[in-house]
């Protein structure tokens, strides 16, 4: 009886609490988000991470942004034109104001690009841009050091900041524009962007509050979210529970084990999207001589059943991969598919003279990618069938990367997302011959080196004819497939879930940055 009473009381309590929390007008809606992490800081140039870019899309607007099928959609830049090989002119939208009330002009874009070139995280990516110049109030001209085909890709990272707001000195005499890693800078505590939402309150690790920006320029959007409360809920089970219990309206990163549960729930909907992060392994050629033999690398590739891992271990929550580039990327080559064939693998091992196999060790993180430790275990078991005896060590992320950097194991797991949403990036970081001077092959754990592929990708990166460029990248993928420079597993899917009436399908994308300014809630 007491139980019933408590329940009744809590129902009444919830109804009362619900009514007081509901906003005043009918079309205005509050969106309660439960993300796995909250933005690390408010300074969008302090750290390049998924969480920060999501935040950038809330409080700021990019010059252009990606559509669902990897096309460019004009945002603060309304038009653009390549004048010659190294110059691009962008026309900016007029009548846009920042949260502070300042007007948005070309000066802000120039200022932002210059600040990006100062940021430790973005500096390397913005290296190809030599300078930016304001031609007039609403035209900006960007000059690259050499012909560079990915300028628009970079423009998705240019979220103009309010240069007047961020210029000057704070009361304690610090420069308002300075970027300090994990420090107490002005920009890490104050925001003025052009975005659909204003930050009203923020407690790191607890919650962030947003309110809709009344003077937002995009009056055509149907988005009707007037308030956002973002609570970080790191624990997977708790995040799902928060959605199912109606505590939040929208969550990210639904774990594979809970997919069915969310799918079957009466008050929530699941949205799965093929992601763009490639998961795979690197074979250390420095430490294991056998891995220098392309036949052994092929044998390893053939021995791994990508389809089975995606189907059973990931429960369909992954797309099996035979190449770096997911569908929609410039270099995606539809011919390159996983080629599991255990008999051929055994033959190749015999041909290479390793019929009896050998022993290696493998490292993998256990809290970075979806089911990472289990995947590594499955791969270790599959390699046993070609007599490669693997001893596996898994460790948490904070310890994994330092261990990875030492390159002291024979096989290592790594997942990679291309910062430019372009194929060349995968090669440059994962398979290029290591060059400490240029930073090429920074995550090439295995010291794999194929100069032909490198030359082709480098050439593609200065080819401004996109058709030709794509052709070159497809060719590079095919060469890597043949030579097995990286053991591909799959692209990890993304899964979002939302309460009934929260129509997230149109605003989520493979890039993992939901455009919540355009979200329509119709309960």
């Amino acid at each position: 009886m007491t139980l019933k009473k408590t329940l009744l009381a809590s129902v009444i309590g919830a109804v009362v609490a619900g009514t007081t929390m509901l906003p005043m007008t009918a079309s205005a809606e509050t969106l309660r988000i439960g993300y796995s992490a909250d933005p690390e800081t408010l300074d969008i140039h302090e750290q390049l991470s998924g969480g920060m870019l999501r935040f950038s899309h809330l409080a700021f607007d990019p010059l252009v942004r990606w559509t669902k099928d990897f096309q460019f959609e004009p945002r603060l830049a309304s038009e653009w034109e390549q004048i010659d090989d190294t110059h691009m002119r962008m026309t900016l939208r007029e009548g846009v104001t920042f949260h502070s009330g300042n007007e948005f002009t070309a000066e802000d874009v120039v200022w932002t690009i210059e600040r990006l070139k100062e940021s430790p995280d973005y500096r390397a990516i913005f290296e190809p841009i030599a300078s930016a110049e304001a031609v007039d109030d609403y035209t900006v001209e960007i000059t690259t050091t050499a012909p560079y085909p990915l300028l628009l890709n970079l423009a998705t990272y240019i979220f103009p900041m309010d240069s007047k707001f961020y210029t000057g000195e704070t009361d304690s005499g610090n420069d308002k524009a300075e970027i300090i890693k994990s420090g107490n800078s002005f920009a890490s505590r104050n925001v003025s962007g052009t975005g659909p939402f204003i930050v009203t309150d923020r407690r790191q690790g607890v919650r962030v509050d947003f309110e809709r920006f009344e003077d937002y320029w995009d009056t055509e959007t149907k988005g009707n979210v007037s308030r956002i409360v973002l609570t970080p809920i790191a624990e997977n089970a708790s995040r799902v529970a928060a959605l199912l219990s109606g505590g939040v309206d929208f969550i990210d990163a639904v774990p594979p084990n809970d997919l069915d549960r969310v799918r079957d729930a009466s008050n929530a909907n699941l949205f799965e999207i093929a992601g763009t992060r490639i998961i795979g392994f690197q074979l250390n050629e420095e430490r294991v001589e056998a891995f220098q033999d392309p036949r052994v690398r092929q044998a390893v590739d053939l021995a791994i059943n990508q389809e089975a891992i995606a189907d059973r271990l990931m429960r369909g929550f992954a797309t099996p991969a035979g190449q770096f580039s997911p569908e929609g990327y410039s270099g995606h080559n539809p011919d390159l598919v996983p080629r599991y064939d255990i008999e051929r693998a055994q033959e190749l091992m015999a041909e290479a003279g390793y019929e009896d196999g050998f022993s290696v060790d493998m490292i993998a993180p256990n809290n970075r990618y979806v089911n990472d430790a289990q995947i590594a275990q499955a791969v270790a078991n599959m390699l046993a069938r070609i007599n490669i005896d693997v001893s596996l060590r898994t460790m948490p992320l904070a310890q994994y990367w330092p261990e990875y950097d030492t390159r002291q194991s024979d096989i290592a797991m790594i997942g990679w997302h291309s910062d430019t949403e372009d194929s060349a990036n995968f090669f440059q970081y994962l398979s290029f011959c290591i060059d400490d001077e240029t930073g090429a092959g920074q995550y090439n754990y295995g010291s794999y080196c194929n100069e032909e592929i490198d030359a082709l990708v480098t050439q593609a990166d200065s080819e401004t004819d996109l058709e030709k460029r794509n052709e070159m990248l497809r060719e590079a993928e095919a060469m890597l497939y043949e030579d097995v420079g990286y053991i591909m597993l799959h692209w990890q899917n993304l899964a979002y879930a939302a309460a009934d009436g929260v129509d997230i399908e149109p605003v989520v994308n493979a890039i993992d940055f939901p455009y919540l300014g355009d979200l329509v809630i119709d309960r």
Binding site: L48, P120, K181, S182, G183, Q204, A241, S245, A398
Partner: protein, 349 residues
Amino acid sequence: MIAFLIKRLMHAILVMFVISVLAFAIQDNLGDPVQQMVGQSVPESEREAIRERLGLNDSFLVQYARFAKNAVQGDFGYSYFYREPALEVIARHLPATLELVFAATLIIVVFSVPIGVYSAIKPRSPISRFFMGVSIIGISIPVFLTAILLIQIFAIGITITLFPQGTGWGAWLNGLLSTEGNMPSFGRGYDLVHVVGHWDTNLATWDGVKHLVLPAVSLASIMLPLFIRLIRAEMMEVLQSDYVKYARAKGISMRRVYFVHALKNTMLPVITVGGVQIGTMVAYTILTETVFQWPGMGLMFLDAINHADIPLIVTYLMIVGLIFVVTNTIVDLIYGFVNPTVKLTGKPA
């Protein structure tokens, strides 16, 4: 008394010193904080510059000396993740944890004393047996599981269709066993009342209390069975003692014998254990807070570990050490009040 407190203060300082040395010594195994601060594609040279600026390249002794020098002046360093002084971060998270521990303690006291006493007085009654059985289960289920179960039953709700829905009694039984959910499953809620400084309380509003219920029950679920069993065992022993028999023979009412004479003596060891356990509970909140996304010290500590936030980890461990010393001191003091024959060390006999 004063001498006793001074002695305990020295203990506290010693404990904190040892913890800080240990924490510093293991920091290399906690991972690389810089890795967490930068994007994956950031070149090594940039990382090196950040490491240099944070002083992570200095030797252990240099780093420790710098830390110790500042710590003596009350500056425990700057949290990498929260971008605030470490002590400030802890002060901000402490009230949430203390309220949670307070609520759990309340639950434990309210339930363990009557149940413990009852099952000592009537050890053979079915109700006592039932409570003993349940407490065994309670001790065996990990707090993580208890929390998930509570969320499923009281936050999400369960629908039982075990009995035929068509019949009146079936529908009634199904309805009786099903739950509505509706309890909040995470966080402290939006209806907090500011008290003082960093302290916003959950206890002042109905919504706040509702948010507190499930986490507090989960946290209490580990300690409650322990205390029921402890009180029962102590009480049974006391009931066998001569003075209780004498009191009964004298014709004093049973109620008075149980609740005044026997219970008082039962509580002595319970207070000792309880004090230590409350200290432990502050540390145990890590699991409970993670499941319920309760923004207290436990959740903060887990975040700090995940981000290899060394200054915060070291400070947290030192503060927890201090909390243990303080609770033990308080227990000793209370012990002195409850049982005047106990002498505190340092107090002249």
